[in-house]
């Protein structure tokens, strides 16, 4: 593995639902903060859209602004999921970067 993914996914199956939690490493800069050394404004850099799919079917699409915290965390609950199901989370930011991670429910 050359580079660690920016996304971490954890899932836990309960009797009536499956909890999926995700943590993304991202600065989420608002464009309002100043660099402490140079005093210049740090340009905006934030995730604009995030998608969450289960077994290839889109479950949720999120449109985000920079009001979301640095290193964003999200959680979702699937009504029914089996062990071995795939969950895919992907994001795209305003500078054109993106990342995707596939996770298998235990």
């Amino acid at each position: 593995m050359a580079k660690r993914s920016s996304i971490k996914i954890r899932s836990k199956r309960f009797a009536d639902h499956t909890l999926v939690r995700t943590l993304i490493a991202h600065p989420m800069e608002t464009g309002l903060n100043k660099d402490k050394d140079t005093g210049e404004l740090i340009p905006e850099h934030y995730i604009q859209s995030l998608t969450f799919s289960h077994n290839g079917k889109l479950m949720s699409e999120c449109h985000l602004g920079f009001g979301i915290s640095k290193n964003p965390f999200f959680s979702f609950k699937l009504k029914s999921a089996q062990a071995g199901d795939t969950v895919v989370i992907s994001w795209q930011d305003n500078l054109g970067y993106s990342d995707t991670l596939e996770h298998h429910i235990q």
Binding site: M59, F66, G67, K79
Partner: protein, 152 residues
């Protein structure tokens, strides 16, 4: 001639309502729009998002929010609701420079449950709006932000 025009207009209306119905039945939210996230007051943002739609205040949306957020840059929120057929959830922070925080679409296979963490500039109301069966519902909760421990 007038009847023809009326007929034509009626066709357009039926067609457009049909296509909007199609769009709303999908999970996709469409393109990310910069105008959604413009720097403006909360009233302008709500007006832009919902137009003249009535936002019914309901106790059926439950928010899990801290009453006092020690650090405004990380405010955890959990949204659950007992309203059926929710397809979209919106989060706003009243006094943020950009009040629109995020919107989430929800597929029927998902429970109405969203956890997230967002930023708050100062003490204000957090407004959550959900869309279900063509109706908007809202609820709000005040969060006190004590930045760096020097706030009131």
């Amino acid at each position: 001639m007038f009847t023809k025009r009326r007929h034509f207009l009626r066709q357009i209306i039926t067609l457009s309502s049909y296509t909007t119905g199609l769009i709303f039945s999908k999970v996709s939210l469409g393109n990310w729009l910069a105008s959604d996230f413009s720097k403006q007051a909360i009233d302008a943002t709500l007006k832009q998002q919902f137009g003249d739609q009535i936002l019914l205040t309901t106790p059926k949306i439950k928010l899990k929010l801290p009453r006092v957020a020690e650090n405004g840059s990380v405010v955890p929120i959990t949204i659950t609701s007992s309203i059926d057929n929710i397809d979209t959830v919106y989060i706003f922070a009243e006094k943020n420079p950009v009040p629109f925080i995020a919107k989430f679409s929800i597929a029927p296979e998902l429970e109405t449950f969203i956890g997230a963490r967002f930023k708050m500039k100062e003490t204000c109301d957090v407004i959550v709006v959900v869309h279900a069966d063509g109706q908007y519902y809202q609820t709000r909760q005040r969060v006190k932000v004590t930045l760096g421990g020097c706030g009131g």
